[in-house]
């Protein structure tokens, strides 16, 4: 028997209101493809360019009570960003990463909209000059891309290197921010 969308939505809202959800997620359309976004009671904990099969990983890290519930605030800020109307995010974040990763991601968050920085420079700013490779690995595993702007980090020679969403997405984000000329 089909559960009506209205009944389904009422259950999800009631579950959230009662504080029974460890981590909720939603899918958000964007110009760079559909995004999987997730949040705990503490804040945004995941943005992924891979939309399928994320629930198990969320369950392991944040708790088994995973439920799809609209994330209107996240959707709104992302929409504004992609429309060019938002240059920084006000969402609270739930990182749960190691101290080194947290320090690197904290510095990353300070790289301004439309600016480029390098792996080596981030490493130096967390007091680990020479740890550019380790910083690269933190960027690779960035749990909240776009909001934590690892797309702004490039190689010492200015090459785009890599990106979870693919280099075309990295280039598109930098063009949106005016950091690269559209090609």
């Amino acid at each position: 028997m089909n559960v009506s969308p209205d009944l389904d939505a009422r259950f999800r809202a009631a579950a959230l209101a009662e504080g029974l959800v460890d981590v909720r997620y939603d899918l958000v359309d964007s110009p760079v493809g559909e995004l999987f976004v997730a949040s705990t009671a503490r804040g945004l904990c995941r943005i992924s360019y891979t939309v399928g099969g994320q629930e198990e990983e969320l369950a392991r890290r944040f708790g088994i009570r995973v439920l799809r519930v609209p994330l209107d605030e996240v959707r709104r800020e992302l929409d504004e960003y992609f429309e060019g109307e938002r240059r920084s995010f006000e969402l609270s974040l739930d990182l749960r990463v190691t101290a080194f990763n947290e320090a690197v991601l904290g510095e990353l968050a300070r790289v301004p909209y439309g600016h480029l920085d390098t792996y080596g420079s981030l490493a130096a700013r967390v007091g680990r000059p020479g740890a550019a490779r380790a910083v690269g690995s933190v960027m690779n595993r960035n749990p909240i891309p776009i909001v934590l702007p690892c797309h702004r980090i490039v190689g010492a020679d200015g090459s785009l290197t890599g990106y979870a969403g693919g280099l075309a997405v990295k280039r598109a984000l930098l063009e949106l921010e005016g950091a690269l000329l559209a090609t």
Binding site: M1, L7, G63, R65
Partner: protein, 160 residues
């Protein structure tokens, strides 16, 4: 030895069982099913992070639904006994029972018989699982099912 099945994220559990549980509660409660359905999944969610394994999740959620439904029927009866005490004697498995033809009459059964018949023939639960859902023994679950089937047949014969 098979590895224990990991407990699925709640969303997967919910997506798999929500429709069947709603169908069951409609048989049990009619129009009052929607509130009971929501209460069932809220109770499941409240207990979900304390589950120790993923065995019998389907029977587990039907057990919750049965308790919610019987509570609702008792509440609606304003404390008047429902007159549906479980028979404790052994009863044979009903033979040649066509549930599909009689399902629409299950609303005429006393609540525990209704639950037993619908769980057994509508949702294929084992008698042990039905017993757990009703808070009774396996034998009592089998007897309630059998008694419910006999009553359904009588009710069918009485139909004009």
């Amino acid at each position: 030895m098979m590895a224990p099945v990991a407990i699925p994220p709640f969303e997967s559990f919910y997506a798999e069982h929500r429709g069947a549980v709603l169908g069951y509660l409609r048989r049990m409660l009619g129009p009052a099913a929607e509130d009971a359905w929501q209460e069932t999944f809220l109770r499941a969610l409240r207990a979900y992070d304390r589950l120790e394994h993923a065995d019998h999740l389907r029977a587990w959620v039907f057990t919750i639904a049965t308790r919610v439904a019987l509570d609702e029927l008792r509440r609606a009866a304003h404390g008047v006994p429902l007159g549906d005490a479980l028979p404790e004697r052994e009863a044979p498995e009903p033979q040649g029972f066509a549930y599909g033809e009689l399902a629409h009459l299950t609303g005429s059964l006393p609540p525990t018989e209704r639950a037993a018949v619908v769980l057994r023939y509508g949702y294929d639960l084992a008698y042990a699982e039905i017993g757990a859902a009703l808070g009774s023994s396996v034998d009592a679950a089998r007897a309630a099912t059998s008694s419910g089937v006999r009553r359904l047949r009588r009710n069918l014969e009485r139909q004009p």
